[in-house]
């Protein structure tokens, strides 16, 4: 019975492919985020300098208006293209993300058709290579997959800026999306909270007690030693009767006191009053008090009614008998039984 804790770390983890790793190892720069350094020099590499104060520029990349414009034109060209190519129209853009595999298939098919381009086949091979290498790693051990070093989003941001910088310097560098192709993205996992052993032991004990209690209640009717119910003894019955009598007594006394107050008390306070008026006053007072008392009495009686339902879980024979008797009373033809009841 382990519980899942809520997420603490919201960073997405990116496990790079081998091609990506190769590229990272080639980076020659001394100001590199921690995770990339780790990837470069092996997972147990400890960083000396504090990279936390490394300038993590604005973490949001906003699309400019030109970008949005470009997107629109690209979408248009694609839709025009798909209108020409019949086999492409099968896949509507909404469904693309839904079954990516399908599109992949069709992509490879279309690639095969126009296989004259060398660049394309190269790319495809590299993708397949990375995939197969990924698979071999994955097949070896699932645990190993999750242990390796990973990149966070801020590292990828850094890489993006880094690449852009180098591109403006005139170097030919791969694009980020080519590097990220095939990379495994993992969501942060929940921490599993182990149950406290003390609590567990306590729960076991309490459950055992509860079950024992229920069992005793269940077997009360058939166990000769415990055949005598506490409910059957005269003292118990008398106590019950006493309690109810006291409740009713209190009710009557308070009403009577209320009546006296109206009938006599007001006269003593103010002076002589008309008898009819005094009577009316007394009855009014008594009525108000009676209303309030009835509420409390009903509440108390209701509590007492609820007790057998909650306590008698196993349905002792006495309760069952009572129900049977009710049925018997309802049946008119068994007149002898009825007489016996009364």
């Amino acid at each position: 019975m382990d519980l899942k804790g809520s997420l603490v770390d919201t960073n997405v983890r990116i496990y790079p492919t081998n091609g990506f790793l190769e590229y990272i190892k080639k980076i020659k720069d001394d100001k590199v985020p921690e995770n990339i350094l780790k990837l470069k020099n092996g997972s147990d590499y400890e960083t000396k300098c504090n990279v936390k104060d490394f300038d993590y520029f604005a973490k949001t990349v906003n699309l400019t208006n030109e970008d949005i414009e470009l997107l629109r034109t690209i979408k248009k060209t694609i839709s025009r293209d798909s209108a020409v190519k019949v086999n492409k129209t099968e896949i509507e853009p909404e469904f693309v993300e839904h079954d990516k595999i399908k599109t992949n298939k069709t992509k490879t098919i279309s690639k095969n058709v126009t296989d004259n381009d060398e660049k394309l086949t190269d790319k495809k091979e590299s993708i397949e290579n990375s995939k197969s290498s990924n698979n071999t790693i994955g097949n070896d051990s699932e645990a190993d997959k999750n242990k390796g070093t990973y990149l966070t989003t801020s590292d990828v941001y850094w890489l993006y800026q880094h690449l852009q910088q180098r591109r403006t310097n005139g170097e030919t560098v791969p694009y980020l999306h080519e590097l990220l192709e095939g990379a495994r993205i993992e969501m942060p996992g929940n921490k599993v909270l182990k149950r406290n052993p003390v609590l567990e032991a306590r729960c076991v004990k309490l459950r055992a007690q509860q079950e024992a209690r229920e069992y005793r209640k269940m077997t009360k009717g058939v166990d000769n030693v415990r055949m005598r119910f506490p409910e059957d003894s005269i003292s118990y019955q008398l106590k019950q009767v006493n309690r109810q009598l006291i409740a009713i007594g209190q009710f009557i006394i308070s009403i009577f006191a209320g009546f006296l107050f109206g009938f006599k008390g007001v006269e003593w306070m103010i002076g002589s009053l008309d008898f009819g008026f005094r009577l009316l006053l007394g009855v009014m007072c008594a009525l108000v008090i009676a209303l309030a008392e009835i509420y409390f009495l009903a509440k108390k009686l209701n509590e007492e009614l609820n007790i057998p339902e909650t306590v008698q879980l196993g349905g002792p024979p006495k309760f069952v008998d009572a129900k049977k008797n009710e049925y018997l009373v309802k049946e008119p033809k068994k007149s002898t039984d009825k007489e016996h009841q009364e």
């Binding site: 809520s6 949001t60 990349v61 970008d67 997107l71 690449l163 980020l176 990220l180």
Partner: protein, 153 residues
Amino acid sequence: MSNIEPAHDLLDKVILRQLDLLEQKIKCELNIESNVNNGSIHLAKSRYIMGQSSVSTTKLPTESSPDFSASIMCKTIEEDGMTKLKLYQNKENTIVPLHWFGVLVPQNLHMAQKIFQTTLSYVVECSNIQLQLKENMKNINALRKYLNIISKS
């Protein structure tokens, strides 16, 4: 084609945005979670005060109860070329939800109501992020397709 360079760059940007949105969504869900937890505590407290069955599904309106409309709705607006959802207060034909549980309800129930109302704004924020995620996925697919076509021709 002069479009190749910017298209590659754009795809980079869109992918970065995707990663960013993923994290935003998780953060937003955590916000919702902490709010729901807080609200549940207040619900439990009012249940303790009013009795076990007083704050439960049995008090909620059912199909046989008279019709009413929601006091808080959401509507779609266009902003920066993106469709967004926004909370919107409805005044017609509404009821006071607190009255399902009685006229004099404990303060905790009022508090729970307030907390869940703020949660609703997080919910809308989260679904906005989700919409953007979907839009972004479409963009990525379109760009990839486009680059594919260009590299072929």
